[in-house]
């Protein structure tokens, strides 16, 4: 097997890695502040304000009605949970298999996980009717002796998501401690004091490295089953009902596969932005886009297979309710959206079979965004075409998102961007110490 080059533009020196990464933290231009102000502005105007209005008025502000009691909020929740899936999972799997190409991209991939999970958790809060009582879904001891219902798939969700959120935040933080120490050593003043606290007084003794390595591998092993379980559990919200189109045994693998699929596409998009705007061309190169592209092709094929199976099982059941629902999904009002999803998620990714597409960042950016548009539509279609075609024909309905829902959906992307923009100025977006592990140790003392 031919060893692939990790670095497109030659191997950097140890010193240079430090400088390149810390520069991205310290040098903040007006462009960054303008971008941050824009995303914060969009978040407030498109997300916070409609949400506050909805809390004041009631969920009726959204377009949901009696049959379609779930709508865009829930489909967005699933989309963001899905987007969160690849980062930590990929990072953990590649850590265990000791793949060197992971080292320069994993930090931002994990950050993506963390922030999508936060956005997803926010969508749960947007979704519920009485936000002010949402703490009842946690097992908090209370004088009434009331407990949450552990049979409820929503309850599983609460447990799974909070566990995953905790585990992935610890995972990303733990991996960053030596880098915080590196930033501390390079900075002065207030920043130095902040990073002294963040780095837990890391000194780089061999005992510390040993403990970190052990703990990190432990968490990598812990996170993998968690990641798989979280989206399976999210799928059970649907699959445990008896609604045609949601009551599918294939839903758990379907959702996990779709989640990793959209998450990997999201990683490609984020990597493009890091290269383009933070100058990490040297560290994120052809090898990464090539491998991620191959992963995307494999996932798109699994995804397509599961989609065909989903239609097949519906048709094969012969139940009139299922057939009616399939007709609505394939030829009803949302049919264009369905076929758009098939085009973007099943056919467009096949272009990546060509090396010329896979190694071209611009083409990969377009494909990755198209995949995520497709996946967003997929989640929307699951909710909006199943619920209006339930079992009693008298209750057939229709769902279309209201302006508030569309605005909150747009705002959620701005919220994610805001969190990510803050992240790249606090965390070293490329892992300093792990990139150095891939360098030639003989060049350690070299100065640039």
């Amino acid at each position: 097997m031919v060893m692939k080059k990790l670095f497109d533009h030659g191997e950097p020196s140890y010193e240079q890695v430090n400088q390149d990464v810390i520069k991205s933290l310290i040098e903040t231009g007006p462009k960054y502040w303008m971008l941050l102000a824009t995303t914060v502005g969009i978040t407030v105007v498109c997300f916070i304000v409609p949400w506050m209005y909805q809390i004041h008025m009631g969920v009726g502000v959204a377009g949901m009605n009696r049959n379609a009691v779930w709508g865009t909020y829930l489909s967005n929740f699933i989309f963001w949970i899905g987007l969160s899936h690849s980062g930590t999972l990929l990072s953990a799997v590649l850590h265990i298999t000791q793949s060197d190409w992971r080292k320069s991209i994993y930090r931002s991939a994990e950050a993506m996980t963390l922030f999508s999970l936060m956005v997803a958790a926010t969508f749960v809060m947007v979704h519920v009717g009485r936000l002010w009582f949402i703490h009842w879904s946690f097992p908090i001891p209370n004088p009434m002796g009331l407990w949450p219902n552990f049979r409820s798939p929503i309850m599983f969700d609460v447990m799974a998501i909070t566990t995953y959120l905790t585990a992935s935040s610890i995972f990303i933080y733990m991996g960053s401690v030596p880098d915080f120490a590196a930033v501390r050593d390079y900075s002065s003043g207030l920043r130095r004091r902040i990073y002294t606290v963040l780095s837990f007084g890391w000194r780089g003794t061999s005992k510390e490295w040993h403990t970190l390595g052990w703990a990190y591998t432990f968490f990598a092993v812990l996170v993998i089953p968690l990641a798989v379980s979280v989206h399976s559990i999210v799928s059970w919200d649907f699959a445990l009902s008896t609604v045609p189109g949601l009551h599918q045994t294939i839903f758990a693998p379907y959702f996990v596969c779709g989640a990793i699929y959209s998450g990997t596409a999201g990683i490609v998009t984020v990597m493009y932005c890091l290269r383009r705007f933070l100058g990490f061309e040297r560290y994120i190169g052809k090898i990464h886009v090539d491998y991620l592209g191959k992963l995307l092709i494999a996932l798109s094929m699994i995804w397509t297979y599961i989609n065909i199976m989903e239609l097949f099982t519906g048709w094969y059941s012969g139940s009139s309710a299922e057939i009616e629902f399939l007709k609505f999904r394939l030829f009803g009002f949302y049919a264009p959206m369905y076929w758009e999803m098939i085009l973007f998620c099943a056919f467009v990714p096949l272009l990546m079979l060509f090396k010329s597409v896979r190694l071209n960042w611009n083409r990969m950016l377009v494909i990755s965004i198209l995949i995520n548009i497709g996946m967003l539509s997929e989640r929307f279609i699951i909710v909006s075409t199943s619920l209006p075609r339930k079992l009693l024909p008298d209750s057939y309905g229709f769902y279309f998102p209201s302006p508030a829902e569309i605005s909150i959906t747009v705002g959620s992307f701005a919220m994610f961007a805001t969190l990510f923009l803050i992240f790249i100025k606090v965390f070293p977006a490329v892992s300093i110490y792990e990139v150095k592990e891939t360098l030639n140790p003989l060049r350690r003392a070299e100065k640039t």
């Binding site: 008025m57 009631g58 969920v59 009726g60 377009g63 949901m64 009605n65 009696r66 049959n67 009691v69 779930w70 979704h127 519920v128 009717g129 009485r130 936000l131 009582f133 949402i134 009842w136 879904s137 009331l146 407990w147 949450p148 219902n149 049979r151 409820s152 798939p153 929503i154 309850m155 609460v158 919200d237 445990l240 009902s241 008896t242 609604v243 949601l246 619920l387 339930k390 079992l391 009693l392 024909p393 008298d394 209750s395 309905g397």
Partner: protein, 253 residues
């Protein structure tokens, strides 16, 4: 009996059979004329809000009792069938497992009850319900002066973000039990309690009573050969039995 057996006993649907009541209803479709008197009675009894024209057009009406209409055949030989649809008080209700906070649960009378104060509004129960009989308060609905004076003091008024549903007029059942207790009787006699819908039905298509009592009117009706349960294949074991409409040669009559 081992501990496991004790637990298994409670896993069986209808464990309340050893309790005093199993409230149930029969709906005789042959008698139903689709007059919707039950719908209005329910509205008045249970403080159901009037959602207004635009909300109604958005399918956000709140009617715990509704008459579903199904057309059969083409004009001029069209026939109209009515099915009154309300909470079936399933013994194995899908909605009960779904609620994360136990806002909906099965009581020992076989009723599927909803605790409005506990509901946080995830709406999962409405998705899981195959009968579509759970209604959500999309806004806080108010009653214009002087309409608020006709509100039933025995029933709470629900706020925004709360799911609500038929409970066979649980306030009337409660009252009947209290009266029976005052009379030094252990059980409510058949016919002493009637939900608003059954009370107002001019053709007596709706019959309410205790299915645990083999002598009650509803038990006898439920054993009618015309009896069937809506969406039986969902295995929800509803407490409501529908008596099929008999299609005969109408001209011969």
């Amino acid at each position: 009996m081992s501990v496991l057996d004790t637990i298994r006993k409670y896993r069986e649907a209808g464990y309340y059979k050893e309790f005093d009541y199993h409230w149930g209803m029969t709906v005789d479709l042959d008698r139903c004329t689709g007059c919707e008197a039950c719908v209005v009675a329910c509205q008045a009894e249970n403080n159901l809000p009037i959602v207004g024209e635009s909300s109604f057009a958005q399918r956000r009406e709140i009617k715990w009792m509704r008459i579903e209409r199904y057309w059969e055949g083409e004009y001029p030989n069209a026939k109209l069938n009515f099915i009154p649809m309300f909470c079936q008080q399933c013994d194995e209700a899908p909605c009960e497992t779904a609620c994360p906070v136990f806002a909906t649960y099965h009581n020992q009378d076989g009723l599927n009850t909803q605790i409005y104060n506990r509901c946080i509004g995830t709406r999962t129960c409405a998705v899981y319900c195959p009968y579509e009989v759970r209604y959500f308060n999309w806004f806080t609905y108010t009653w214009d002066e002087p309409l608020e004076r006709q509100l039933n003091p025995d029933v709470s008024v629900r706020e925004k973000g709360v799911m609500e549903k038929c409970t066979f007029c649980i306030q009337r059942i409660r009252q009947a039990k209290d009266l029976a207790k005052d009379d030094d009787r252990r059980k409510v006699r058949d016919g002493e309690v009637t939900p608003a819908c059954a009370q107002s039905c001019p053709t007596e298509a709706l019959v309410f009573g205790d299915l645990n009592d083999p002598e009650s009117r509803v038990s006898k009706m439920a054993n009618d050969p015309r009896g069937y349960q809506v969406l039986e294949e969902q295995n929800t074991s509803p407490s409501v039995v529908y008596l099929q409409k008999v299609h005969g040669d109408e001209e011969a009559i």
